[in-house]
């Protein structure tokens, strides 16, 4: 089996979960003997390449006297301008993006049709331009390479996937890691929605990262349920011995929220639950790590509830700080309103931290050794936190089983399910 795979980012140059997931998945597939040509908009040269080829779209030269290219360009012109389609971007950066200029149609056309295009590979203001150009390059790659199936990750690469399918006639599998509904709630960006829908509709099969996402794909995008298959994400096992000596410097137990402080992540429920717990037990500290558009509102609410001496904001944390935060935590809480999958509880469990997660997250479908509550049920959330802090049997149970459970969520196993999807697409 040979797969032409389109991604947008690849470790170490990642801004969010997508790159990490693609990397793990690719490694898992390679273990089972699948050959992969992985195309990214821009390769930096320092990416890990374990058994697969990484193609740099920036290196591909296009010949526009080629009629095919011209024709194809006409087809993909619909996805032109979008100002604030910036998935997985830190909200502070996002702020600066939206204030930047919109592109004119003419500019896109000109730059896209230059002979060689230098992708930034970022989620910048030229995102739509890059997506279009990426699709064009994809058609060129597809006509040169030989492969059995095309696999495209998230909407940024769907046009590329569609292009490759049209040129090669090979089956297309699109992989939905998140939908526009997860990113923007009900205020969806119509352009992105259209691209997503076109991608899913054109695809032979659609992979979703959870049943929750599968439901959205079926209901909101109107995709035939028969061709939507859930393959849950996994995690790469890592050992971090350097963290064992980490100590916290307060006596109280620490309860942590870590993630973007946006509506989707449910930070307000965390604050309300913290208040309830602190009413009963003052010997707890709550930490909200991350930033986002709701941050100031959360700070105001914490002040209003008069719990600011026990509730702390760290702002955005980077890689090693995140690990430190986990190492210091006694409970990790993810009260997401909507979460296609949600990898962070798995990282917490790997550090032996018990987790409370919302039932509205994809990861809740695969975890047994976690407390699950409805995101809106603040009482249940507070009760779960209190339970872990006070009843030692729970902590012991989680420590004993949690890490094992996470370590068993291997990409190797998820890859088997993906291969099954490939087979279904190829031999249907």
């Amino acid at each position: 089996m040979r797969v032409l795979m389109f991604g947008w980012e690849f470790p170490p140059h990642i801004t969010g979960g997508l790159g990490t997931a693609c990397f793990g998945l690719t490694k898992g597939l390679v273990k089972h003997g699948v050959e992969i040509i992985f195309v990214v908009p821009k390769a930096f040269g320092d990416e890990t390449k374990e058994g697969f080829r990484l193609l740099n779209a920036s290196d591909v030269k296009l010949d526009f006297r080629n009629r095919q290219s011209q024709e194809f360009w006409e087809k993909i012109q619909y996805m032109e301008i979008g100002s604030n389609l910036v998935p997985y971007v830190d909200p502070e950066e996002f702020e600066t993006y939206v204030t930047k200029t919109k592109l004119s149609e003419k500019q896109i056309g000109e730059s896209v049709f230059s002979k060689q295009y230098s992708f930034s590979g970022k989620y910048g203001p030229n995102l739509m331009e890059e997506v279009s150009r990426y699709a064009l390059v994809a058609s060129a790659i597809a006509s040169e390479q030989s492969f059995d199936v095309i696999h495209a990750h998230d909407w940024l690469t769907y046009p590329a996937g569609i292009a490759a399918k049209e040129i090669s006639g090979k089956p297309l599998v699109v992989h939905v890691h998140a939908t526009e509904y997860d990113r923007s709630g009900e205020n969806v960006n119509k352009n992105v929605f259209d691209i997503e829908q076109k991608g899913m509709a054109t695809a032979d099969l659609v992979i979703t990262v959870s049943n929750l996402t599968r439901q959205i794909v079926i209901e909101k995008y109107g995709i035939n349920p028969d061709k939507v298959i859930t393959v849950h994400n996994a995690v790469e096992p890592v050992e971090r011995p350097e963290l064992e000596g980490v100590q916290k410097h307060v006596r109280e137990k620490i309860v942590t929220f870590l993630g973007r402080v946006t509506y989707q992540k449910g930070p307000d429920y965390f604050v309300e639950a913290a208040y309830k717990v602190l009413q009963r037990d003052p010997n707890v500290r709550f930490v909200m790590a991350g930033s986002g558009d709701l941050l100031t509102r959360m700070i105001r609410r914490v002040a209003q509830l008069k719990i600011a001496t026990k509730f702390h904001f760290t702002g955005f944390l980077t890689g090693s700080e995140v690990d430190m935060m986990f190492a210091m935590s006694d409970v990790y809480v993810m009260p997401s309103v909507s979460e296609p999958f949600g990898i962070s509880p798995l990282e917490a469990m790997r550090s032996n931290v018990p987790v409370v997660i919302s039932k509205q997250s994809g990861v809740a479908e695969v975890l047994k050794h976690a407390l699950k509550v409805d995101f809106w049920d603040v009482d249940a959330l507070a009760d779960a936190i209190y339970g872990i802090l006070h009843y030692d049997g729970l902590r012991k149970m989680f420590v004993r089983h949690g890490k094992t459970e996470v370590d068993n969520l291997k990409w190797e196993n998820a890859a088997l399910n993906i291969i099954e999807v490939y087979n279904k697409a190829v031999y249907k």
């Binding site: 717990v277 037990d281 050794h369 009482d379 009760d383 006070h390 089983h401």
Partner: protein
């Protein structure tokens, strides 16, 4: 005559309502009244009432030849009395026929046999009295919760005055032996032991309606044919079933009632078997051997062990905490506390915390009202925490002052800071809530500083002795540099203190506390 011993277990627990931690200390109503009422009414209607009616008709039809036995848990009896007393009446009618034996068990279908011998004996006595009061028979046969049995438990049951006990004919204790004989206890051979024939019993409880089962449909005639294939030497076939098998686990539509309706006729006309109660068997049969059960068994799951109720961290913590109350409950006379003490011991609460069903056991899932064992555990522990607070408060009321400080100290070391306790030696003054020693942690640092400034360091050291970590931290943090040094040195030198000294010094601080709080 060879015998069929038909025995039915009737049990319903008092299920707990969703009880959050903020209810602790405020709300002492633990039970989900709506659900409990709903379930007992449904089961009575679908199972108990029609099944009792059928049994009564069979006894009338076949006279002395048809005998059966029941064990009804105290929690089931209590709920039936409240919500569907007509079920009690129909059981009484069965009792009046003289052909029905009522067995004894622990009142609340508890795991007391594994937790505390004294409490076990108390519950058995309670249940025996209840059965005698309702059905006019003094039970002589014992059936422990979920057929839990070991040599040790059997011997204790014999000491309590029972002559026969039922348990599971588990493969691993029988080996090549057959369950179809009378056995006796290993330690005390006077106690006769009847073993459940799990293959034939489970054909009825689990497989009866399973259409994938090669023997489906199972008729009374076919069942009797199987009985006839049993070796002629073997004396008794023990069919021990959940009574809910009739009509609840196996719906009426599966034909389960028809099966029992036709069973006696098929047995009498096509076999040499008859029906006996455990007491009949006690009279008729001699034990063929002692059965050795060093480690407790039960009738649950493939393993026939205790892991459905005990063994994981959640269950073990809850169990240990529950039975740590026994000493205090021994002298308790508060009827509400006594009732909750019984109902909280019901084995079902521990069953809900079982993590085995993560891997297997659809049965577990079916009976579990909680989303996960973790939720079950948290809910139970919240309730238990409130219950423990009530015991502490109750105990403070009854224990004379000279013993009080020891009791308080013990309570503290056992249960940490969540225990609120009142100090009966000082009366309420005014309407404000009087602060106790532990309230120090709730005060602002400024206030604490003000209070301890006026108290000699020595007094502080004495008072803090044995107090929770939080209290100590709060005090230490608010001491001045010099005072803190002095304080630490004193602590180092401190030897064992008399509880009265601790109380005396605490009282001084409590006074300061309340002076400051006015």
């Amino acid at each position: 005559m060879r015998s069929i011993c038909l025995y039915f277990q009737v049990h319903q627990p008092f299920r707990l309502r969703t009880y959050r931690f903020f209810n602790i200390g405020q709300d002492h109503n633990y039970y989900d009244d709506y659900q409990n009422r709903h379930i007992i009414k449904r089961v009575a209607e679908k199972s108990y009432l029609p099944a009792n009616q059928l049994m009564l008709e069979l006894i009338r039809e076949y006279g002395k030849g048809f005998r059966i036995s029941y064990s009804i848990s105290g929690t089931a009896l209590d709920q039936l009395q409240i919500h569907v007393p007509e079920v009690i009446t129909s059981f009484q009618q069965l009792a009046n026929t003289g052909q029905v034996e009522f067995l004894s068990e622990t009142y609340s279908h508890s795991l007391a046999s594994l937790g505390n011998q004294e409490e076990f004996a108390r519950q058995v006595l309670l249940h025996r009295n209840k059965v005698e009061e309702l059905f006019g028979q003094k039970p002589v046969t014992f059936r422990n919760t979920e057929l839990i049995y070991s040599d040790q438990i059997g011997s204790q049951v014999a000491d309590l005055g029972f002559h026969t006990m039922l348990t599971e004919g588990a493969k691993h204790i029988l080996g090549w032996k057959s369950p179809n004989y009378m056995y006796c206890n290993q330690i005390n051979p006077k106690l006769k032991v009847l073993l459940r024939n799990f293959r034939l019993s489970d054909d009825l409880t689990f497989r009866f309606s399973n259409r994938d089962w090669s023997e489906w449909p199972l008729t009374a005639e076919k069942f009797v044919k199987w009985l006839n294939t049993i070796d002629k030497q073997e004396e008794v076939v023990n069919l021990f079933l959940d009574y809910e098998t009739l009509g609840e686990h196996q719906w009426k539509e599966t034909g389960i009632f028809d099966f029992f309706k036709h069973l006696p006729n098929a047995v009498f006309s096509k076999s040499k078997f008859g029906f006996s109660t455990p007491e009949n068997l006690y009279q008729d049969l001699q034990p063929v051997a002692a059965i050795s059960v060093p480690h407790a068994i039960s009738w649950a799951d493939e393993e026939r062990d205790l892991t459905a109720w005990l063994g994981n961290e959640l269950q073990d913590e809850a169990f240990a905490k529950l039975y740590s109350c026994q000493q205090k409950m021994k002298n308790c006379s508060d009827p509400d506390l006594l009732r909750d003490w019984l109902y909280l011991q019901t084995s079902n609460h521990f069953y809900y915390m079982c993590t085995k069903w993560f891997s297997a056991g659809e049965v577990h899932k079916y009976f579990n009202p909680y989303g996960s064992p973790y939720e079950a555990f948290i809910n139970y522990m919240n309730v238990l925490s409130d219950f423990i607070i009530r015991i502490e408060e109750g105990n403070d009321k009854v224990i004379p002052t000279n013993k009080k400080s020891t009791a308080v100290k013990k309570a503290k070391s056992n249960h940490g800071p969540e225990i609120k306790k009142s100090d009966p030696s000082e009366k309420f003054k005014g309407t404000y809530r009087k602060l106790n020693f532990d309230d120090i942690i709730r005060l602002s640092d400024t206030k604490v500083k003000a209070i301890i400034r006026d108290v000699p360091v020595e007094t502080l050291v004495y008072a803090v002795h044995g107090a929770g970590e939080e209290v100590a931290f709060k005090v230490e943090k608010n001491l001045g540099v010099r005072a803190l040094r002095q304080y630490k040195e004193l602590i180092k030198k401190l030897k064992k203190l008399k509880p009265s000294e601790v109380t005396k010094n605490r009282r001084q601080i409590i006074q300061e506390l309340n002076k400051n709080n006015k």
